[in-house]
Every structure is written in structure tokens, then in C-alpha cells.
Amino acid sequence: MSEQTAIFRLNHVTKLFQTKNSTVRAVDDVSFDIRQGEIFGIIGMSGAGKSTLVRMLNRLEEATDGEVIFDGKNLGNLSNKQLRTIRMSMAMIFQSFNLLMQKTVLANVMLPMKIAHVPHKEQKERALQMLKVVGLEDKASAWPAQLSGGQRQRVAIARALAMNPKVLLCDEATSSLDPKITEEILALLKDINQKLNLTIVIITHEMSVVEKICDRVAIISDGKLAEIGEVKEVFTSPKTEAARHLILPVEKELNLFDTTDRRCIRIVFDGRAASDPLIANLVADTGVKVNILCADTKTVGGVGFGQMIVELPKDEDAANLVINYIKEKGVNFHEIERKGDKI
């Protein structure tokens, strides 16, 4: 993996916001690379600093400290004019689409090229071509107000692609869309990523978005980088509390059951392990009965995953027997940590 070139390199990036009474560390000493051609997810709870972070990738937000390197250039050292030129190669789409409502769909898609002084005829040709890519060639003369949310985001994507950018930054681009439309937009992004070899950076608070299309993910918590890695890896064996919290929102719901004094484990099955009846075998082989609190399946990076939360017996020996059995089978699991009397 190390031979892959980094399109973005963040070195100890920090952003402080000065409020009346205190200093807020919105982004706190974050360092990572985003590789050429990948779909990179940045996930965190709202207020974690991920929106500030993505705005530092195109310097809409100035870094207080540290450096953001894009395509070998340190963004902080660029003049305003150089910055504007480089921004033309890094497009951005938004949660609220940010289309011009008083311009037609076609005029919206032509805008970035107008700014870049592309000849008018070429602007129109390329805009129509981009509308075709997003499947809206018949809406060229429509007004944004006549379109649905999903269609508006498609227009925004067409507009973003118009200048043939090197990266596409998506700031909560699907957060205002319903699940079905979200899937369609994500499929479109994946398609664009593969066809155009376009690097895509996705900011989201929804793990499902990351699971569906991202190659790698960075988990941001309180402005800090909590965890980074392949999505599959982070999903199957999250190392930090922040990661577990995002992957397993069900843990909160476990409080519905009174499990305060009992131990619970989360078992993750990948495609291979899912074919064996683990729990049935466990009960048959060890004679220990376990209680299944919840179970579901997900598709992560095209591979099916199942996860199950199992309550261990109160008896220490029996519990250890179960844990050893699962360990022996080579199935991925971890014990769910508790905070106070909560899981």
C-alpha cells in the first residue's frame, strides 16, 4: 500500500476557534494521508470537527497549525490566485446542494467553467456530457426548484465534475436524502470513482455510508484522529471507544435490557465464518447456554458481515469457556466495555 501516492497529506493539522470565553480545538493535531484513487471516509459524531477538517482540505478554513499538502503543494504557502487555480482541481459537494436557484440546471453546471474562462461552446458541450454522466441530460433546461433532492445532488455532482477535478470532497452529501436516494447517489459516486479514477473524500456521520462505498476510513472524535484504516478492518475490530460507538449504535439500545451486571461480547462474522452455525455448535460442544441480545447483517466493501451481541453466563468459568471456544474457532469478537452502569 505504501507505494500508492498520497494526493492529500495532513501533517499535524490543528484548527482553533476563539470564542469569547475559551478556545475550541475543532481539529487537534491530525495527521494522515489520502491516497490517489481511493474513496476515503471521514466519520465522526456531529461537532467532532469533521466539517472543519474537510474545509481545510481546500483551505476554505485556514489551519491554525500544521500543513495540508495537496498533490505535492503546501496549501498554506499558496497566494490567493494560486489557491483559486488549485481549487479548480478539487471540487466539492454539500449537504444543501448549493445550486443557484435562479439559473437553469445547464447554467449551473457551466458555472465552474465560466469562472475558468473555458470557451462558451466547450462549456455547453461538457456540461451536457456531465449531465449525461449523472443521468439528467433531459433536465438541462429545468430549474433546480423543479427537481427532487436526489436530482439536485446529481446536478451538484455534474457541476463538480465539470472541471475534471483530481478530488471530489463530499460534505455530508447524502445526509439530507432518504435512504433509497442515498444508495443511488453513493452508487453514482462509486461508479465515478471507478470510471474516472477520481479520489473521493466523504464526510459523514453515518457508518452505513462508509460501509457501502469507502475503501478506508478515518474516525474523528473531539477533533482528534481516533482511528484510521481499511473499512473492513475498522469494522471487524474497532480499537477505540469512538469507533465502537459509531459502528455499534445498537450498544446504546442494549440499555433497554437490564444487563448492568452481566458481561456481553460482540461477535463479528465475515463471509467465511458465517457458514458455520457457531452458536448452535457452541451450545452443543460446551453445554453453556448464552443469550443472544441482538444480531444483524451488513455489507461492508461488498462483503457480507454479520454481527451479534451475546450475553455471557454469570458464572465466571462458564463465561471463560465460551470465550475460549470462540477464540479457538478464530471468530472475531470483543467484549463490550461499560461506562459506569451503562454499556
Binding site: I86, R87, F94, L100, M101, W143
Partner: protein, 217 residues
Amino acid sequence: MTSQLWVLIGNGVLETLQMTVSATILAYLIGLPIGIALVVTAKEHILQNRIVNLVLGVLMNIFRSIPFLILLVVLIPFTRFVTGSSIGTTATIVPLTVGAIPIVARMVESSLKEVPSGIVEAAQSMGASPISIIFRFIIPEAMPSLLLGATINLATVLGYSAMAGCIGGGGLGAIALNYGYYRYQQDILFITVAILIIIVQVFQESGTLLANKKRHS
């Protein structure tokens, strides 16, 4: 009423329209850039500049708080300097313009502020320069609102032009004052007022129509 009086009123209408439209256009030539400047130099905006914003804001407030009748009198030397006279239609355009500038500037400011900040952010992310952001993003998006504002300003200037009749301005205001008030010719007073009402109606309706035609959301 004699045909002579009708000619007088006809001329009055033309003079009024001439004063109103010229003064409004001139006021926009100066007020529009000031309105734009008030928006873009505001905090967190593309050309943030505290001093320019403060100076312009205070200036506009000062001019706006002077009653128009007082402004008319105060500006007499300036008007004489610019047009060579302080009475008549052309001379009236000067105080009308000066009086309208702060109103235009504030109206433009509030129209431009309606444009969502996300539009500006999108423009910046595309690599647009401040000039591009203003003329290709903010103004087109604010156009329907700007047109409505212009309609209101036109009607305001029309009202001011009638006031200017008091100190030797021409137009319907002077006719209403001279014939209707000083000579007690109430029919002329009513006719001029009726015509003023019709002009305002026409301005307002066509402005609203145009703005709605331009509005797509």
C-alpha cells in the same frame, strides 16, 4: 378645466417621470456598489474589512436619518454647483439622488444578504474570485429580490419628487402645490394625486410582475 391646464398636467407627468427615473438610476449607480460593499466587507464575508464596513454603514445611516425636506434645503449650494441652478426639474434630480442613495444601498444590502452563505462557499470551492462571486453568484441569485427593491425605491423617489415641488422643483408635486394648495383649485389637486397613485400602481405592479417572472424558486 381648460385644455391649457391639461397640457400643464401632461408636462407635470413627464417631468415627474423624468426626475424619478433619472434620480433612481443615478442612485443605483452609486448605491448599488455601496450596498455590495456593505455585504462583502461584513464579518466573515469574502472581503471582510471592518473599517470600510463601519464607515460606509455610519455614512448611510447619517444620510438616511436626515428628513428629505431638510436635505433639499441643505443641498441647495451643492445642487447649484452641479447643475448651475437650484430650481427646476434637472436641479431636483440632485437632492433626489442624494436622498435615495442610502435607501438604495440598504435595500441592496438586505437583498444580497438573503443569498444563502452556502452559495458563496460553493463559489469559493470552485475557485471563483471575489468579483466572480459577486457578479456570477450573489447578484444573479438576489436578482428577483433586487428587482422588488428597485420597485419600492422608484415609488419612494416618486414621493420625494413631489416634495421637491415645495422648493421650486417641477413635476406633479409643484402643480399640486401651486394650483391645488395656494390657489384652492381642488380639482387639480385631486387629479394630480390620482395620477401619482396610478403611476405608483403601475411601477409596483410591473416591478412585481418582472420579479416574479425572474424568480424560479
